[in-house]
Structure formats: C-alpha cells, structure tokens
Amino acid sequence: MRRGLASLGVPLLAALLLSAALSTAAPFGAPAFAVTPQERLADPVLEARARAISQTLRCLVCQNESIDESSADLAHDIRVLLRQRLLAGDTDAQAVQYIVARYGQFVLLRTPVEPATYVLWYGPGALLLAAGLSAVIWLRRRPGADAPASVPPLTDAEQQRLDHLLRDTDP
C-alpha cells in the first residue's frame, strides 16, 4: 500500500463479511454494500438516482470497483458530493459531468461512444469485416479455385494408356 488512501484492505474485508451476513438476513432487495446510512438521501427518488449514477462511476483508489461498491474514503467523498449535486438540482448528466471535469473520463465505467473511442467500439467489428473480406477475396483468387475448367483435356496417348490400364485391371 504505497498511497495514502489505498489502505482499505481491512475495511474491505470487514465490509465483505458484513455484506455476506446481511445478504442472508435481508428479506428483500440487494444489501447496501458500501453506502452508509448517513450518506443516504431522505428523498427515495433522488437516492435511487444517486445509486444508479454511482454504480457507473469508477472508484479512483481501487480502480476496478464502482464508487457504489467501494469502501475507500474517496469513494465515500464522491458519493456525498454526487448527492449534493443532485440535491442542488443537477440532472444526472450534469452531476456526472461535474465528476468527469475533475477526474477525467477514466471515472466512467461505461466507456462513452464518441470520436475518441470509435476505434475501441467499432475497431473489432471493422477488423473482422476487413479480415472476412480479404479471406473471401483470397479464396476466390487462389489458383485452383476454378481448377476443373483449367485442366487441359487428356492427349490421345494419355487416353490410350488410361483405357489400357482400365482394361487391364478389370476382370
């Protein structure tokens, strides 16, 4: 653990154990993972929006968890900030933009489709298409593809020899 905020091994383990205990006991719904009761908004509609957004934002400390799942301090701070933005009347897009302006597009767990990411989104399809097309072209052009037409007919000598062989083997 080199970084100051990165020391979350123990709290994470505790949260895992706790959530395992909760998930067997909770009668309905998914158990809250990292979101603490103090963070929750009183308005259930706003809270639901906040939860939905925070599931799409990356925790910068753990980097492969959303801030909704992470128990890192920074994830907590950003969850609170996000709720403040929603309370202040931001739309979902505005609230997300607020975070992106500070932390960059890397915070988005779902990569947006935009010019900078076209290669990422469409590259594999384009590669497959190109490979498929060149395979078709290659198979069609390859010598031997139209072999039956290009084989010269047997010469008279060859025909005689063939007849001879066939006669020889047949009883």
Partner: protein
Amino acid sequence: MRKAFYLLPLLAFLTLITWFGLALRPDHDPEILPSALIDKPAPVFDLATLGGGPNLALSALKGQVVLVNFFASWCAPCRVEHPILMRLAAQDHVALYGIDYKDRPEDAKRILAQLGDPYHAVGLDPDGTTGIDFGVYGVPETYVIDKTGQIRKRFVGPLTEQALQQELLPLLKSLNAS
C-alpha cells in the same frame, strides 16, 4: 507490392507487442492517471492557512510559477517525499505551497515542526473538497501551476529524485523562462 501486403499482419503484430512491452516496463505504473485538468485553469480555492495568516487563494498566486503539494500528517508516502520538498524549497526554483488534505491542523503543525516546513504557506482542506476539485485521488499529489494560473503537470504519489531531475526541474525552467 504483393509481398508488402503479406507483411501487414506481421507489422500489426509487432506494433501490438511494442505497445504491450511498453506497458510492462518496470517504471510504468498503470494506476497513475493523467490529470483531467492539464492545460486548464486551476480550480479556484480560498483556504484558511495553517499559521492563521491571510488565506491561501489561487488569485494571489497568479503571475508566478507555483507548486501546489497536497499532503497530510496521516500520509506515510508524504514523509518519503518530504526531504525532496525541503531541498526544493532551499534551492528556490519555485514557490512551494502546501494543501493539508483531510487532516487536523494541529497534527499538520506538529509534523511540520518535527520534519521542517518547506511551504510558503499551507492551506487547510479538512473535508477534501479542494482536493476533489483538483482531482486528487490519493496524497501526496503535486501540481505545477504556471504564471497564467493553468495546471501544467501533476505528479501522483511521492516526488522522486528522478521525477525531480528529469521532469519537474526542466518544466519549471521552461515555465519560468516564458
């Protein structure tokens, strides 16, 4: 021409391998993120200071190249980079300001008294909001702000001698000259 066409897959493969090889080099840390604020105006802040003097405000820093170092008394890697900050402060290349991130002022005061205080002034950011405005995701982080108030570089994690010699000092030289 046709032969060159058949070399294309090999070329693509070599490009990929080079790319992957670069990502695996020992001094590359994939957890270090580029700042979203490079070449953008630094976030506005106006913070009470540790000594209780006038506030540390961005507007007062304009017109000079400054280094803003986010640190905390509870942060172990900050102690690692502390000697480098002390040396930097002594060499007078740049005005070094500290922002005490999510910390108690008395703790910060104690640690600066113990280790030495490299900062011109230290702003207090007890709830980390200025940190979030800068995109801080762990302390220490160090930002280079140019004369026009734009962020030119961010160092994530403790400053190293190598980063100082190869990146920071040349950058400061060119920024001071411009």
